[in-house]
Amino acid sequence: MPATIPVEKDATKLPGLERELHLLYQMLLIRRFEERASQAYQQQKIGGFCHLYIGQEAVAVGALAAAREDDYVITAYRDHAHVIARGASLNACMTELLGKPTGCSRGLGGSMHFFDRANHMYGGHAIVGGHLPLASGLAFASKYRGEDRCTLCFLGDGAINQGAFHEAFNLSALWKLPVAFICENNLFGMGTHVARAASVKEVATRAKGYDMPSMIADGMDVRHMRDTVYTALQAMRKKPHPFFIEARTYRYRGHSMSDPATYRTKEELEKYKQEDPIADFKAILLSEGKLDETKFQELDREAKRLSAEAMRFAEESSELPLEDLHKYTFVDGADR
């Protein structure tokens, strides 16, 4: 499909209809990529921790469709989607999972540490809350340089109880830094429900303590995500300040590959599967006459083909040479 629908880094450049199909296509790409990765993990081709995003696709895809190509993006360890939506190739992502040098972090980072400098994707960070001050720093740099680019920082609902969250929020609000903190509230931090972890009833309320504007978005609705984030970014570009967006979503898989997710009911999971961001958006596009089943199948086939191709590419990629072990400890001598 890249023939008709390229992976466009700046979706705002696409004409209206293609822009919408592009949202659907990106969600499909991410889902099929992760389904493939999940299989590979079970076959022990992937090591360490692997956290899947399945169910949450509308958040990253919608939010990043609202961003500009030169905006800075940073996220936590459930990061495959953000890097793909930002324009990295499935090949580079799959190869990273297999720990090979053609991976997006040269096989040195793994699932939790995807980086893609060319697409202004600043990681993949695995210490909960640890990347929020970094987001403030990215935003600080653009303000320092007088640029109107914004920073989009994704975080889980679990991160809102970390000290670093509060320090980053205060600093960003105090210094009016153009950073949009997008909390992906999927109700759980590992096995702990957000209601057992946060003192506030609504995640978005956290912004109040910092006089930071906030909005709540339907994280299962890709258009709503896109439009909410777009509104925030427009305001931030005019006059730099931070924004907090709570995206309400759900993850269908366990926290990581080893988690059977016994802390939630089947009914709850089923309820959210009825709101599947891909199936829902497909239905909307069908009903609006913007998509037909043939076209959908075409997009889905392409997403599956690229995922399978990425796995082949990853498996055929050469191993990291042992001599590279010390290459990236300091910048001198590192290939960059």
């Binding site: 360490g48 040195l108 695995a126 210490i127 970390q162 702990t192 057992r196 946060a198 990291l320 990236y328």
Partner: protein, 327 residues
């Protein structure tokens, strides 16, 4: 005697101490309803209820500090870090508040607290999740640091730690949770003192000093070396602080050669301190420079082969032994 897993041993230690003393409680991420990220606290919520087994938000600095505060007024918290890599978020609490309080208050406030959880590299978890924190914590006077390698030591050291009136860190290992080993029956009160190394294997040619993850490597190396005619003595430190200087010195005085197998990065690592102590005490007894087998000096790579190259191993220990034996 019976056999239980390292995980089960830690679980028994907490259960027994919580039965014995109502002031002991367990706090940490996922310790209650999830039964622990690594299932070490399995069943404790059921036995002791939510008052004494508490799930926290992901707020390491908060709950570590809360534990220290509670300890100031006489409770005896067991604080579980999901891994010690995450304890770094609470570093100030652990290294500033816990060990300094007694001195700063002129002896008024002691802090009877245990910080425990898996420490050191596991498997392909990458740079942020693979920290071996023992050199960090060992650098702060006022903290004790236990590093059990077997189920028996895990139980005995943790029980002792919980009864200690000072802050104690029990550095466990994800890679050891599943290993099984012999241990006294439940009816026997098993307390193992901090600061007593254990001679795991007698030998005359070289002393291999090890702890936690490296004990199994050292024993396997010694087994192999025995077949080559080298009798290695294997010494498991069991706690880094206090350090059992006496046993180390007496073993090396006997073998005249010393290899230290440590799971941390080399620079300012545990072996650096031990090598210093050995040369300071028994310089004339040494027939070769002390050698250390540690990690490579790099942030941990995700790639499996590179990770293996970074870590200490049986092979690297054997190689070091050959070197100190001039073979």
């Amino acid at each position: 005697m019976r056999e239980i897993s390292y995980r089960q041993a830690l679980n028994e230690a907490m259960e027994e101490e919580m039965m014995r003393d109502p002031d002991v409680f367990l706090i940490g991420e996922e310790v209650a309803e999830y039964n622990g990220a690594y299932k070490v606290s399995q069943g404790l919520l059921e036995k002791f209820g939510p008052k004494r087994v508490l799930d926290t938000p992901i707020s390491e600095a908060g709950f570590a500090g809360l534990g220290i505060g509670a300890a100031m007024v006489g409770l005896r918290p067991i604080v579980e870090f999901m891994t010690f890599s995450f304890s770094l978020v609470a570093f100030d609490q652990v290294v500033n508040n816990a060990p300094n309080m007694l001195t700063m208050s002129g002896g008024q406030f002691n802090i009877p607290i245990v910080f425990r959880g898996p420490n050191g590299p596991a498997h392909q978890l990458g740079a942020t999740h693979s920290h071996a924190t023992e050199p960090l914590y060992s650098n702060f006077p006022g903290l004790k640091v236990a590093v059990p390698a077997t189920p028996r030591d895990a139980k005995g050291l943790l029980k002792t730690a919980i009864r200690d009136d000072n802050p104690v860190l029990v550095l466990e290992s994800e890679l050891l949770y599943n290993i099984a080993g012999p241990i006294e029956d439940k009816e026997v009160e098993l307390l193992i003192p901090l600061g007593k190394a254990e001679l795991k294997r007698e030998g005359v040619d070289v002393t291999i000093i090890c702890y936690a993850q490296t004990v199994r490597m050292a024993l396997a190396a010694a087994e192999y070396l025995a077949k080559q005619g080298i009798q290695a003595e294997v010494l498991d430190l069991r706690s880094i602080k206090p350090l059992d200087r006496e046993t180390i010195i007496s073993s090396v005085s006997k073998t005249h050669r010393c290899v230290i197998a440590e799971q941390n990065k080399p620079f300012c690592g545990i072996g650096a301190e031990i090598a210093f102590q050995v040369q300071r005490e028994i310089f004339d007894e040494l027939d070769a420079p002390v050698l250390r087998v540690a990690q490579e000096e790099v942030p941990m790579p995700y790639n499996e082969r590179l990770e293996a190259a970074v870590l200490p191993s049986q092979e690297k220990i054997i190689e070091a032994v050959y070197q100190v034996c001039y073979l």
